[in-house]
Amino acid sequence: MSEQQISREGQVRRALSALRRDPLALTGTLVLAVLVVVGVGGSWLAPSGINEVDVDVMLQPPSWAHPFGTDELGRDVLSRVMVAARVSLQVGLVSVGIALVVGVTLGLFAGYYRGWLDNVLMRCMDVLFAFPVLLLAVAIVAVLGPGLTTAMVAIGVVYTPIFARVTRAGVLSVREQVFVRAAVSVGASDLRIMRRHVLPNIAAPLIVQTSLSLAFAILSEAALSFLGLGVQPPDPAWGRMLFDGRGFVTEAWWLGFFPGAAIFVTVLAFNLVGDALRDVLDPRQLTVSEARRSTA
């Protein structure tokens, strides 16, 4: 196991040093760091309570007192956007986590063993894939009742086939590589080959898919919350706030703008970091001195 730890530490160090050289990726990382801080400590950091109603300042445009303005009940939009970050991140991470674990496992076995297992698994994935996210969510709500958990499970289930397909496609090409045959020739077990040779070599498309899916999961959560299937009012969520603000587009643009901007910035940050990681995780792009440093 120690060899793996070494290589993992090396990868982390490599990722960090590459980030320092790439300003876009650095920006993305900083944005994500801010988001995490806000997501964890939002309720303490927020200038006012999320449900402090103040009828005197209903629908105020951005000002020094309320930088993002106030909504139709006089609540501080900035505070609500900050607290909502936690919900968005949580939904994104948990739902994509579910999709990643289940989808990669299924795709790995389907692509590695082919045959009937592949057929059965991938047809199931096709069926899942054919369901619109909202329809599936409604079905799941019928079982679990509305709420955050329902939203996360529904989004996770919907994204599973995507990960299964990306994984399977990668496995199909990697398993034909000579180095996989070489591993078979030294007597490595199927599980070892999948874990040690196949998975690391399909990490790049999976990482890109993960960052994209995180972004889309946050958007999906927004849609679900709007339909009342996700976060329940009065708890804030970006999607919920965005859709709530749609009725005030002409008189109070800030109601929709700031949650929308938060979604946009988050999605963009995930994509920037995903692209940078894909580059870093390819050892062929290392120079000799970097590799020496990273494995020293």
């Binding site: 000579v178 180095f179 078979v184 020739s185 030294v186 007597g187 690391p200 494995t295």
Partner: protein, 356 residues
């Protein structure tokens, strides 16, 4: 030892030119059979039909020797090599390793087989996982077969293996792309040595290397064989290399062995018309000899292994084909002691071709 090393590095150290070495054929007691193919057939279903990659091949590899297997693309030589590790499933026939019939072994038992038979691949770049360090690649057989206790012992063994193939220990931390082609192939050889196998299948181990590096790898393989008593199946399309490396050799054409013998027998006295044509097609780095030689140019291409010709498989391209050749499928028959050819007119046909 020191003399050999000096020869390795000295340009002007002449290749033994007195001919004495070549005149005495290598004599060995027929030793214990390490691996054996008996009437092996490997057929692959494809959309175009069933490809008969190997179609009735028998061969034996004895301990401590190098058996050379030479043939062009489509001859089935690589498939025969893969069959010894059971990396392909035989359609019929038997694969025996160290006396045990492994033809029907389960996946689990095959993993143990693959410690006894190791393989070196043609393209050293493709055969190493780009994400693993050199050390991790070499250590894989050690981990899989639990041959070392703990990381420190494993690291020592990897260092030892690197040293055996002439690489510095610090390369263990590098990735394949940081090495030259020759260094990568040394890594491939070190990985094959790790499990102390009974037999190493070398599948075109020098074909994708630069000329100046090919000689290094061939010398290394021969030195390792001398020092460790290794047994090789050396598969290549390069006749001169197979001749140089082998104690005995077999020539394959379209899924069959058409001739076997010592390299000297095959080089001087080919008995099968295909071997003679192959020999005459090999270019020699001597302009005068090239101008003087009479080439036997074969017409056409190797037929499809989906639908091989009936009778003798070579008859469609053979300059000496006669009507009988379409009737009878010739078997390997002795033409000289230890020298066999699968031709109805063995010897005679080649003489006719050469005097034409």
């Amino acid at each position: 030892m020191s003399e050999r090393q000096r020869a390795d590095h000295q340009l002007n150290a002449a290749v033994p030119a007195d001919g004495a070495h070549a005149a005495v054929p290598k004599q060995r007691d027929p030793g214990e059979v390490v691996a054996e193919l008996d009437d092996l057939a490997v057929w692959f279903p494809t959309p175009a039909g069933v490809v008969r990659a190997v179609d009735g091949v028998s061969l034996r590899v004895r301990r401590g020797e190098t058996l050379g297997l030479v043939g062009e693309s489509g001859s089935g030589k690589s498939t025969a090599g893969l069959a010894l590790l059971r990396l392909v499933d035989p359609t019929s026939g038997t694969v025996r390793v160290a006396g045990e019939d492994v033809t029907r072994w389960s996946r689990r038992r095959l993993r143990a087989l693959r410690r006894r038979v190791a393989m070196v691949f043609q393209d050293p770049q493709a055969s190493l996982d780009p994400r693993l360090t050199i050390g991790a690649s070499i250590a894989e057989p050690l981990i899989v077969h639990r041959l070392t206790d703990g990381g420190a012992a494993r690291r020592r063994r990897v260092d030892e293996l690197l040293d055996m193939v002439g690489l510095r220990g610090e390369l263990a931390d590098r990735h394949p792309h940081e090495l030259s082609g020759g260094q990568r192939q040394r890594v491939g050889i070190a990985r094959a040595l790790a499990g102390e196998p009974d037999l190493i299948v070398l599948d075109e181990p020098i074909a994708s290397l630069d000329l100046s590096v090919q000689a290094q790898i061939m010398n290394l393989l021969r030195r390792l064989q001398r020092d460790l008593g290794l047994t090789y199946l050396f598969i290549a399309h390069d006749l001169a290399a197979v001749e140089h490396m082998s104690d005995r050799m077999a020539v394959m054409y379209l899924g069959r062995i058409v001739e076997t013998g010592t390299p000297a027998q095959i080089w001087r006295d080919p008995a099968h018309p295909y071997t003679a044509a192959l020999l005459s097609a090999v270019p020699v780095a001597d302009p005068q000899a090239e101008r003087d030689r009479r080439r036997i140019i074969l017409s056409g291409d190797i037929p499809s292994p989906v639908d091989p010709p009936g009778g003798c498989r070579f008859r469609t391209r053979c300059p000496q084909a006669r009507p009988e050749c379409a009737e009878t499928d010739p078997v390997l028959a002795e033409v000289d002691p230890d020298h066999r050819a699968a031709c109805l007119f063995a010897g005679e046909a080649v003489r006719a071709m050469r005097s034409r």
